[in-house]
Structures are given as C-alpha cells and as structure tokens.
Symmetry: C2
Subunit: 382 residues, 2 copies
C-alpha cells in the first residue's frame, strides 16, 4: 500500500444556509480544496452523503457533483453510512490512492437538511427500520437510552452531560465556521427544554447544512501541492449490531472501540499518543462514550473529562476543538470530513484561537446511527 497524505481542505460554514442548495454547498467546499492545492484536474471524487434522496429528492450524487464542479467525466462515487458517511468517504478515497489506481482523489461530504423534510424521521432511517424506526423511536430516544444506561452503570449525572456542551460551545465560539459561535453556561444547558429525558436541547447537535472536502494524494507527491502535508497514518472502520437492543452493553460503543483498535494498530500507536481529537458528539452522552471507547479515559470515567478540563483546550487531550457536532453543527454527511479538516488544521498549526500547541498526531472519529458504524482516522504532521 502506498502512503497517503491530505494536502488541502475546503469547507463551507455550517448552519441553516437557506441561500445555498445541496450542489452549491458541495461546489463551494470542493472548489476551495482544489484552489488551495492549485489543482484543476483530479482522478476521482467521493461524496459522503446520508440522505439527499429523502431530504431533497436527489440520489446519484457522484455524477451530479462532478458535473457541477466542472469535472464531468471523472470517477465519482457516493458513499452512505448514515452520520459516518463523510468518514467512510475519506476511507474510500484513502484506499483508492493507497491502491495506486489514482493519484489525486477528492474526499467530500455534504448534507442539505433544512429544505423542508421531516428531519427527525429521515434521520431515523439510519436506525433499524424493522425493530426500531417502525415502532416510532428516533435518535434522541436511542441516545437517551444510552445515557440512562451510562448513568446506571457509571453514575453519570445530568451535570456531567452538561459540561460536555459547555466545553464544546467554548471551543466552537472560537470557530468562524461554527453554526453556534457562542458560549453557553452550565445552568443554561441544564435548564434548556427537555427533548428526550435525560437529553435536553443543549445536549443535542443541531440540524445543519454544510459541505467539506479534502484532497488526497500519495505522500511522496504531497510536496507538489503543499509545504505542510498531513499523513493518514491509520484507518479503522468497524460495525456493530444495528439495533441498540442487540448490543451486549448499551453504555459501551463497541464499534468505536473496534474501529480505534484497527486504526491504532495500522498507525502503530496507542491512545496516549493522540494529542488532539475530534469525536462524534451528536449528543453529549456520545462524546462521553466515545472517549472511553477510544481509550482516552478508562471505561466509566468519561463523565469527568469535560468538567475537569482533561478534554478542553489546554487539557491533556483536547477533544472537539472545532466545537464538535454540538456547536459547529452536524450536516450529517459532511461531518466526518469536517472532523478530519479540524485535525488537518491543528496539525498544520492553522487552528488560530483553537490551536493545540505542538500537536503532531491527531485523531478523527465519526459514527453512524446509535453506533452501528464507526470510522477512525489517525493523522500525523510530516
């Protein structure tokens, strides 16, 4: 396998972007990535997208996006893995470059969620249709059950959950691309309206539009496009039971643990080597579960991390310096690419007010459904 690098990135801001269509968002992010690398010809495109068919009546995104980018002809593959679609698109692009089949591959993610569809119902199609969605459960309910299980097993409190939101909004306030660029106070979170007990509004990521893109090439060609390439050192992708009820431990995200194990093994590192991470905080409880499954904290102790500052800027392992899904926003198909971009910028020293000083190894973890899929990328400054 050839070694692979990320050489440039592009991203729209995240938010309710009424003025932009699905294709507009894609073209904005993709063009920025290509211009940053001074490239006008590529071999292949991957488009991570969960549900444009349901959201805006548009499937077949590969050729559509290639066409609107002015690149009709190029290979263009749409990849779907619910909210992990972006991360899986990045992995697919990595494999195409690693194989030697292509040299320049654009990995992108895009979602347009605010055009009128019943968003919660569309997202619920990422759950098990026969044993979950059909019976009316949606994702706030599924993650509420995960939160309850975590509370029961490990003593996690409402306040523990709230600290995750406080931390991520603190980070997101420093991110010009974030949907909610403002801090929130602990009591504000704890008094926000109840969505699905114990998950309150400010413990849930928002509905967002947005797109993100990164350009990949063989590591040994990377200097043609940038003086600061970032190597993809490890990739891990894993699945778990689709239905939450089928998991051995509701409070433990085993797909996250397995995807991390695979990525660490490929990278030849362990969790202690990671200096900055983006993890999938679609709900505050998810971040707590993810940092446990990634091995950043012992199992059951994730609940303390945000409060003690361990995962805040300046802490031992800053998590979601971008603001995370909570504050930056969560256009589901774009999220995995946006996470990789935050780590890319951190490792290049381009993260501005959010910069983790001296970060050399970072990790991005992107999850689908209630954790039925997870993909982890370990990135390294070279």
């Amino acid at each position: 396998m050839r070694e692979v690098a990320i050489v440039s990135a592009g991203m729209t801001r995240f938010g309710e972007l009424w003025e932009s269509s699905l294709r507009d968002l894609f073209v904005e992010a993709a063009t920025e990535a290509l211009e940053n690398a001074k490239v006008d010809r590529i071999d292949s495109i991957y488009v991570g997208n969960m549900a444009a068919g349901q959201f805006v009546g548009q499937e077949h995104l590969g050729p559509l996006m290639a066409d609107h980018l002015g690149m009709a002809g190029v290979a263009a593959t749409r990849v779907e893995c619910a909210c992990a679609s972006g991360g899986v698109a990045l992995r697919s692009a990595f494999l195409e470059v690693a194989s030697g089949a292509s040299d320049l591959v654009l990995a992108t993610g895009v979602e347009k969620m605010t055009d009128g569809a019943d968003v919660t119902a569309v997202l619920a199609t990422a759950a098990d249709q026969e044993t979950e969605a059909y019976h009316g459960i949606t994702f706030p309910g599924l993650y509420a059950m995960i939160a309850r299980a975590h509370m029961q097993a490990h003593g996690t409190t409402d306040e523990d959950l709230a600290w995750v939101a406080v931390k991520n909004h603190l980070h997101g306030a420093k991110n010009p691309k974030a949907q909610f660029r403002r801090e929130v106070k602990l009591e504000e979170v704890m008094k926000s309206s109840m969505v699905s007990e114990p998950l309150r509004l400010l413990l849930c990521s928002p509905v967002s539009d947005g797109a993100a893109a990164v350009l990949l090439c063989p590591l040994d060609q990377a200097k043609k496009y940038t003086d600061r390439p970032v190597k993809i050192r490890g990739v891990g992708f894993a699945t778990s039971s689709m239905a939450l009820a089928d998991r051995k431990d509701t409070a433990f995200l085993d797909s996250v643990a397995l995807s991390a194990e695979r990525a660490y093994k490929m990278a030849g590192i362990g969790p202690k080597d990671v200096q900055v991470a983006e993890v999938h905080d679609c709900f505050a409880i998810a971040e707590i579960c993810c940092i446990e499954a990634l091995g950043f904290v012992p199992r059951g102790e994730g609940r303390h991390a945000a409060r003690t500052g361990l995962t805040g800027l300046g802490g031992k392992i800053p998590v979601n310096t971008s603001g995370g899904l909570k504050s930056k926003g969560h256009p589901v198909g774009a999220t995995g690419i946006a996470q990789a971009i935050e780590i890319f910028e951190q490792l290049r020293g381009d993260a501005g007010e959010r910069q983790v000083r001296g970060a050399r190894i970072g990790l991005a973890q992107n999850m689908g459904g209630s954790g039925a899929s997870s993909v982890v990328h370990v990135l390294e400054r070279v």
Copy 2:
C-alpha cells in the same frame, strides 16, 4: 496494485419477491457466495443500493447487512450510483483488495422495489432534480428522447428496438434466475402498450426485487477458494453531464465510451477481444447505444445487431446472455453485480443453456441515470 480475482458468487432469483424483505434478499445472496467459497470470515463488505431510504425507509445498509449476515464488526460500506450502484460497489471492493488493505471482500448489490413506494418517482431522483425531475420527467421519458435522437441521427426504427427485447427474452428464457423466463415475439413487443413514445412496455425493464454478491480476493490467493477463479483484468468508471440536455450528442452515451476506454486500457485489450458481454439495457435503446459506445459495432450501427444475430447466442459478440435487465429483471442496486455474475459463470463454463463456448474474456457494463455514470469491468478466465 495487487491483481484481484472473483472466486465465488451468490444471487437470488429476480422478480416480485413479496415474501422477502430487503435484508432477507441480501442475506440469501451473500450467504450463497460465502458458502460457495467455504468462507465464514471476511474483511469487508460493499453494498450497492440505490434508494432503500426512499423504497423501504432504510439507510445505513452497511452495518445492517453485516449484522444480519452474522458479521457485525466487519467494515461495511454502502455505495450509491443510481442503477450503477452494483457496478460501483464491485469497483470499490476491487480497490480495497488491490490496495492490500483487505484480502476477502464481498461486493454485493440489493434492491427491494415492490414494497409500495412510487417506483417511477423514486427512480427519477437519479435524474437532475433541479432541471429534470422537478419538471416532471421520469426515465421512460428521458430514454424516449435518447431513442428519438438515435432514430433521427441513424435511422433506427421501432422494429430495431423490438429485436433487442426479442433477443433478450430469448436469452432470459434460458435463465432460471430471470424474472420473465419466457420468449416474446416481435409483433408482441411492437403491439405492447405505449409507455413513452417510442418506448413500449416490452422495450422497458421491469420493477424487480433481488440481490447478488461476489467474493473477491487477491489473485494469488484465489486457488484457496475455487479451482476456477476469474480475474478482474480491467476496471473503468466515468461520469457525464447529469442532465440529458447538457450532452453534446443525445444519441451517444459518452460516459459508457469513456468508462470502456479506461477499462480496455487497464486490461490491455480492445473491444474485439471481448467474447461475451452484459450491458445496461434498462430500455432497448440503451443496449443499442451501449454496444456502440463500447466499440462492439461502429457508431450508428447498433440498431442492426440484435436483428442480424450479431449480439445473440451463437453470434460474434453475444450480449446480455442472462436476459439482460429486460428479461432477467432490474432490481437497480443489484444489477451491476448480477451482470458480473453472468460473465463470471460464462467464463467458468457454468452458464448452462446460455453458455458461450470457449469464452475467455468477458465484459460487464453498468450505467446510472440517463448515462450520467457508467462502470465497466473486464473479466478473464485464468
């Protein structure tokens, strides 16, 4: 890049399979492929599927299918490229094995179309939403325009179109997996009800349920799983303008030509070396355009091929020996894999009454939308 082989296949019959759900269909085909190779552990799965979100309210097919196959944990990626989803899933699986990242990868396709959705409207989401579908056009209309353009440019007649259906039904009558296992007469086709002028009912592929799966591994490991591996010698994937109106020549499928050019180049062969082919006859006119774009006949002369026997069993280049989409059926996400299976069986000498004697090199061509995407695989008996 490592050389890659197909070592086994599994497939449901195609048709209106009321008794089987989306997941049932997948598991039946995947299990057959695994059992044929005597394998109970694989590294990765690709699921080609166009629109299960719209057809049956289910996205996130990767983990769902891995789970129901009893393989939760394994990497599992859903790939969508409209009616070329299966072909693109095969290409993705090829790249993963070629890269060295995985040894045993299952490439599958599945679609459940008969569960009550408005099929024509769902399929139309593979067209350009803003410039085509929104204004009410669906695929019979788009292909009718291609047919009209071909008639005008090359003198193609209603009878030329009808001969394609006659030939493919003649082939499909010999295929135990085909949805319509019966011959049709020329006059029957020409008197069938009009769908979108000049396309009559028997010139259109049907609405189908079905699934198909092939198992890939490095060529140098193939003998562990079968005594008759089939090598993937060339792969080509190309896109074109999404909207039909944006093409330079409505009667010519440029994505098919470009995908073939890429596959031939990689395989080091030309169209004359192909001894059996499956092409994307979603409508009769599509087969005529495809055999021209693939270089089997000169441009403008595809209209004669079925009538003269050139593309029939016993002809110089038998096309759609399986019955094609027309007679075998067209569960859209499964089609690309089913095409590869027909060629796999032909090259192994397993095609029974449909056998093309002595075939050593075969080709499968799978198309999305009105030709905005096309993927070609060149397979070879080794």
